[in-house]
Amino acid sequence: MSAYAVEVENLTVRIRGAEILRNVTLRVRRNTIFVLMGPSGSGKSTFLRTLNRLIDFVDGAEVRGTVRVLGQDVYSVDPYRLRSRVVMVSQEPNPFPHMTIYDNVALPAKLNRVARSKQELDELVRWALERVMLWDEVKDRLRDYPHTLSGGQKQRLCLARALAAKPEILLLDEPTANIDPVNTIKIEESLRNLRDELTIIMVTHMPHQAARVADYVALLYGGTVIEEGPAREVFMNPRSEVTNRFLRGAL
């Protein structure tokens, strides 16, 4: 079994002729929090979508290079199966509005056959909601609908839903970009606590969030990787001037 959850080599992505990612080579170790940071428009979301092949749904997308996730080339496996092991949480909270809070969390678990009995499912739902620190807030209203939750709670619900699928890798696309500070802190803390159970790959444009959360970071700017390494090193001793400018907020 490879020590790396994700291995990307010379990844180049073009969308309708425009080059979004150029020769990106990165490796993500298992059971770590890897944060890809960079200013808006640097190609971070595109990178994420290449890992779970959501890029397939983008019009005019061309992908060149090797992307290996959990030891397998992503283009040699069933994409739907891949996406159930590599689950993504979007920037915009998007719980299924027609399903109850309980059903939202239970659905992926049921579809992936993670829980076999009603009791197991109840326990899994509780576990997932506890991991995102939402259990105490919703335990008395699991039959309510998501529209009764605040934005931050909705995003935590989406995170719980992703966790209930028991993925091996969790992809997060700017998960707290539209969330208030209190919920942001809760989400960041949940992520730190989840490190032992899965690999987390997060994308953010906020260097401070990366500093708070990451084990390893990489800076993506203009579609190329400028610098990468253990978070401590990159934040205390950035090698590149571009990195320093990004950390100063000047990019």
Partner: protein, 204 residues
């Protein structure tokens, strides 16, 4: 157009330079104390040293607060973070150097007049301290790497002088007050140069 962060950093640097001026002034007055013979001038110098040290105390407090507020507000990362963190230490070192100058003045006032003929070689020692401090300042604020070596050299020199004096004092049963004053001053200078080394090595 400078951002608030750049303005903040420039402000911190200005504060530190302000402190530097005062500290350097104190060192020069300490030197004058060794050279000046006129009692009125000596009295004036002692008073000035007291005043300047009080000012230094205020500057240290305000500089430290400014650094902490800047950190809280801008949460610097990368090289800025290291520089600001180092600056906290540099401000403290400058403050301590100033305090040691005061200690030298106290030794002059209560133990023995430092302008005494037998204490002539103290002039050289204090000049070394000033040289070390100026080089340390340039090493940190101007990035002069040769200055770091100069400071280190002075440090070993002063350490040696101090150690020799201690051995000398330890070898006799009775010590005259001038020797006591000399020992005290040399001790303070050794500490001053140590702090100068700290400043020089603080450059991230």
């Amino acid at each position: 157009m400078s951002s608030g962060r750049e303005v903040g950093l420039a402000g911190l640097e200005r504060n530190a330079k302000e402190m530097h001026k005062v500290t350097l002034g104190l060192l020069k007055r300490a030197l004058s104390l060794i050279v000046a013979k006129d009692p009125e001038e000596r009295e004036r110098l002692l008073r000035e040293i007291e005043d300047e040290v009080a000012l230094l105390d205020v500057l240290k407090r305000s500089s430290t607060e400014a650094i902490l507020v800047f950190t809280m507000r801008y949460q610097p990362l990368g090289r800025d973070f290291k520089w600001v963190h180092a600056l906290l230490g540099v401000v403290y070192d400058m403050f301590r150097i100033g305090r040691y100058c005061r200690e030298i003045a106290i030794a002059d006032r209560y133990v023995s007049r430092l302008s005494d003929e037998s204490l002539g070689d103290l002039k050289e020692v204090v000049e070394l301290a000033i040289e070390a401090y100026e080089n340390a300042y340039r090493a940190f604020f101007e990035g002069c790497s040769s200055c770091v070596d100069v400071v280190k050299e002075i440090d070993s020199k002063v350490d040696k002088l101090y150690l020799e004096l201690l051995k000398e004092v330890g070898s006799v049963k009775v010590v005259p007050t001038t020797t006591v004053a000399k020992t005290l001053v040399l001790r303070h200078v050794e500490r001053i140069v140590d702090h100068a080394v700290n400043i020089a090595l603080s450059d991230p």
